[in-house]
Symmetry: C2
Subunit: 424 residues, 2 copies
C-alpha cells in the first residue's frame, strides 16, 4: 500500500536547518555561526512586560487583545505600519502606496511569503531569485513545485545584464509565461549581506515591465525587506521599491517586526497590489483568520510609545559592535585569499574561498570545521535548483547574530585555522 | 493581459464570514447570533497579565519566550498537551499515542487543518465531511480544489449506513483512490452541536479500514475536537478516536487552546501519525518555523499552574448559562414547528425550519431577520459542494458565544417573530 501523501507532501524535503540543529545538539561545545537567531541579550523582555501590563490593564483593549480580530490585522497596527514605512522611505504623506488598507499583518514575513506564493504560483511556474538567496524561500519553492531561476548577485544587488539575459532566454524557450515574479532580499541580504541600490530596483522593475507583454501577465517585483531595520546606521537607508513609479501595481513588499523586536512575538507585514491583496487575505483567512491579536497589540503599543524605535537603535549598535568583532577576527585569522563581503547591517558575513576549495555540506572543510566545533551555513544551500548553471560550493554564510563576542572571535579563529590548513 | 494568479488564487472565494461582518457593520443595532466569537467578559485578561509577568520576569524563560523555537513547538507545552489529552481521555500513561513527540503546536487548530490538507490532498482528491460541517474547512477544500462528499449527520454523529453507502459508491465509480480522509468535528459540532459517540468513531474507523485496500492507501480519520473543552459539564466526556485500536496509524487529532482560553493568544495542537507528522512539520517550517513562543509559554504556564483548568471550569458554567437563556428564549418565541438541536456544549443551537421554508442567504426569512436587526448563519453555508445531493436550505446556526444574555433573548425574540410571520 502506498502512503496517502499529496505531491506537495511527498516533495517537501527536510529543511537544512533541521540537520544543522541536530548537529549542534550532538556537539555540545560547538560554536554556531550558522543560526539566523537574533541576539538573546538584547531581546526586549522588560519592555514587553511593561507594555503587556499596560495592554491587559486597559479596559478598552485588554479583552480585544485576547479575542479574534480581522484577517488583515488590527487597524491600529496597519496604520502604524503604513506610517512607519512611509517615514522610513521619506515618502510624502499623500503617497497612497502607504495606506493602511494595503497592509496585511502576518505571522512573520515568512507566512506572507508563503501565502503570496500560493496566490501567485502553480506547479511548474518560475520565480527569479538572487544567486544566492534566502534558503527557506527556496524550500517553499521546492515544496510547491515552483522553479527557481538564479540571477547573478553583486554587492549592490542583482546584475542587470544577467537579469535581462535570463528573461530573454526564458522568452525564447517559451517559458516566460511561467514567470511570476523576481524575488529580492533587498537589505543586508540573507546570505550575502548585499543591499540592492534604488537604481537597480528601478531598472529591474523596468525590465520586468518590458517583458510583460510576452509573459501575458504582470511580472511582480517581490521585495523582502526582513533585515531592513538591522542596519548599522553607517550608511543612508535605501528607499524601498514602493517609492518607484508603478509600484502600486507591481511591487509586493514584505517586512517584519520579528527580527528587530523579538521572533517569539512573531509579527510581520506586507503591502500588496490588487488582485493579490484580496486573494492573499482570502487565503490567510483559511490559514488562521488573522495573526494573534495579543502580539499585534504588543507591537502596536511598542511602536506608538516610541519603545520600538528606541529598541531598534539599541540593537543596531549591538549588531554593529558584533559585526566589528567578526570583521576584526576575519582579518586576523582568515587567509588573505578568502574573499569577504562586508555588510552595512543584518546578521551575516559572506566568505568566498578560492575556486576549487569546496565549503559544501560534504566537503573536507565543513567536516574539519565540525571536528573543531564550529558550524557555518554552506553557501551552496542558498542556491536554487536551476539547471542552467552549476551551484558554487566554495562559499560560507557566517552569522554574528546569536553568538557572543567571545564565541564570534573563537569561532572565526577555529574556522581560520581549518582554512589555513587547506590553503597552505 | 490576464492576471498572474495561480489556480488556487483564482479559485479562492471570499469567506462567508466577510460579508456577514460587513452586514453587521452596516447595521449598527444588529444583534449577531452568527459570530463564532467567544464570550468577551470571561476572557482571562487578568490571569494572562499575571502569567506574562511571571514569564517575562523569569531569568530562564523570559528571553527564550521572545526568541525563535523549534517548528514542532516548545517541549514543555508539547508534554503538557500530551498529558492533558491523556487525562481527558482517561487513557493509561503507558499509551504511546499520547507522546510529546507526536504533538505539533500550531497557530490555532485552523492552521493545522490547513497544513494537514496540504500534506494529504492533491487537487481533485476527496475528503468525506459531515453534512453539515464547519464552513471554514469547506473554504479550504474549495480553495485547494479538493472535493467534499457529505455524509448524513445525526445527533450522535454521522449515519454509518450512509458512510458505507458513500464509500461503496465511490469505490464503484473508481473514485475511492481520491479519498484521503473522513473529517469529523466530533464534539459540540460546528454548526449543529452534535457530539459523535465513541461507538460511531470506532465503527467509522473500521469502515475506513475496510475500504483501504480498494483505495490503495491509508484512509485517515481526521478528528477536529476544537469545541471539546466547551462542554457544559452535564454529560460525561466522550473519549477521542485516539483511544481506538489502530489510532496511532490512522487518527489525526486536532484541538485548540484558543476557544477555551483566548483566541487572541492563538495556540492550537494536534497529534499525527507518520508519515504525516514529519511532512506536516516540514510544511509548517515553510509557513512560519513554529508558532510564536511567547504565546506558547503563556499557555504552558496557564496549564502548569492550574489556571487553565480553573478558567475552563468557569467558562463552562458561563456558556451553560448562556445556552440555558437561548433555550428558554427558543421555547418561548420560536414556532413549535421549528426543530431545535440542543447541545451539551459548544457555542451553537441548530434550528431546522419546516421543509419548504428557506432560511438561506437569499431567502425572505434571512432578509426579514436582517430588517429586524438580527443575524444568523444560514445552514446552507455549512454544506460542501457535493453534486450527489441538494443542499438543504431550511436551517440556521444560532450562536450564544459572544452575545450578551439580554441580546440572546432579544435576538431570538426578533427571529421568532420573523418565523411566526412565515409559519402562520
Amino acid at each position: 500500500m502506498k502512503n496517502a501523501l499529496s505531491a506537495l507532501g511527498r516533495r517537501t524535503t527536510p529543511p537544512p536547518i533541521s540537520w544543522m540543529m541536530k548537529t549542534a545538539l550532538s556537539h555540545p561545545k560547538l560554536i554556531s555561526l550558522a543560526a539566523g537567531f537574533t541576539d538573546n541579550a538584547t531581546l526586549p523582555v522588560e519592555i514587553s512586560r511593561k507594555l503587556l501590563n499596560e495592554i491587559l490593564r486597559d479596559g478598552k483593549i485588554g479583552q480585544p487583545a485576547l479575542q479574534y480580530g480581522v484577517t488583515a490585522g488590527e487597524k491600529n497596527l496597519r496604520e502604524l505600519t503604513a506610517q512607519h514605512l512611509q517615514k522610513l522611505d521619506g515618502a510624502p504623506a499623500s503617497n497612497k502606496n502607504y495606506s493602511a488598507e494595503r497592509v496585511v499583518i502576518s505571522g512573520g514575513s515568512q507566512q506572507l511569503l508563503y501565502i503570496t506564493l500560493e496566490a501567485l504560483c502553480d506547479e511548474g511556474d518560475i520565480i527569479l531569485v538572487e544567486d544566492p538567496t534566502y534558503f527557506v524561500f527556496l524550500s517553499i519553492l521546492q515544496s510547491r513545485g515552483i522553479q527557481a531561476r538564479g540571477v547573478k548577485l553583486e554587492r549592490d544587488g542583482i546584475n542587470l545584464e544577467n537579469l535581462e539575459k535570463v528573461l530573454t532566454r526564458l522568452k525564447k524557450s517559451g517559458e516566460l509565461r511561467r514567470v511570476k515574479a523576481l524575488y529580492l532580499v533587498s537589505y543586508f541580504q540573507n546570505p550575502t549581506g548585499a543591499t540592492t541600490s534604488r537604481a537597480k530596483k528601478l531598472a529591474a522593475l523596468k525590465l520586468l515591465k518590458k517583458f510583460e507583454s510576452a509573459a501575458g501577465h504582470p511580472l511582480y517585483l517581490l521585495e523582502d525587506a526582513a533585515y531592513r531595520e538591522l542596519s548599522f546606521g553607517r550608511s543612508t537607508d535605501v528607499p524601498t521599491a514602493l517609492t518607484l513609479p508603478g509600484a502600486a501595481q507591481r511591487v509586493i513588499y514584505t517586512g517584519t517586526y520579528s527580527k528587530p523586536y523579538g521572533p517569539g512575538a512573531r509579527v510581520g507585514f506586507g503591502i500588496l497590489p490588487e488582485p493579490l491583496l484580496t486573494t492573499v487575505l482570502r487565503i490567510k483567512g483559511n490559514h488562521d483568520f488573522g495573526t494573534a491579536n495579543l502580539l499585534q497589540q504588543l507591537l502596536a503599543r511598542a511602536i506608538a510609545t516610541g519603545f520600538y524605535s528606541q529598541h531598534v537603535a539599541k540593537i543596531q549598535k549591538r549588531y554593529d559592535q558584533k559585526a566589528r568583532v567578526m570583521k576584526a577576527a576575519l582579518a586576523e585569522y582568515f587567509p588573505a585569499s578568502v574573499e569577504i563581503w562586508e555588510s552595512g547591517g543584518g546578521l551575516y558575513f559572506w566568505a568566498r574561498l578560492p575556486r576549487g576549495l569546496s565549503a559544501g555540506v560534504k566537503s573536507k572543510v565543513f567536516k574539519a570545521a565540525l571536528k573543531n566545533d564550529v558550524l557555518y551555513v554552506p553557501g551552496e544551500l542558498c542556491y536554487g535548483e536551476d539547471p542552467s548553471r552549476r551551484k558554487p560550493d566554495n562559499e560560507m554564510r557566517l552569522s554574528f547574530g546569536s553568538a557572543s563576542e567571545e564565541n564570534i572571535r573563537e569561532g572565526i579563529k577555529r574556522l581560520g585555522k581549518v582554512l589555513q590548513q587547506f590553503l597552505k
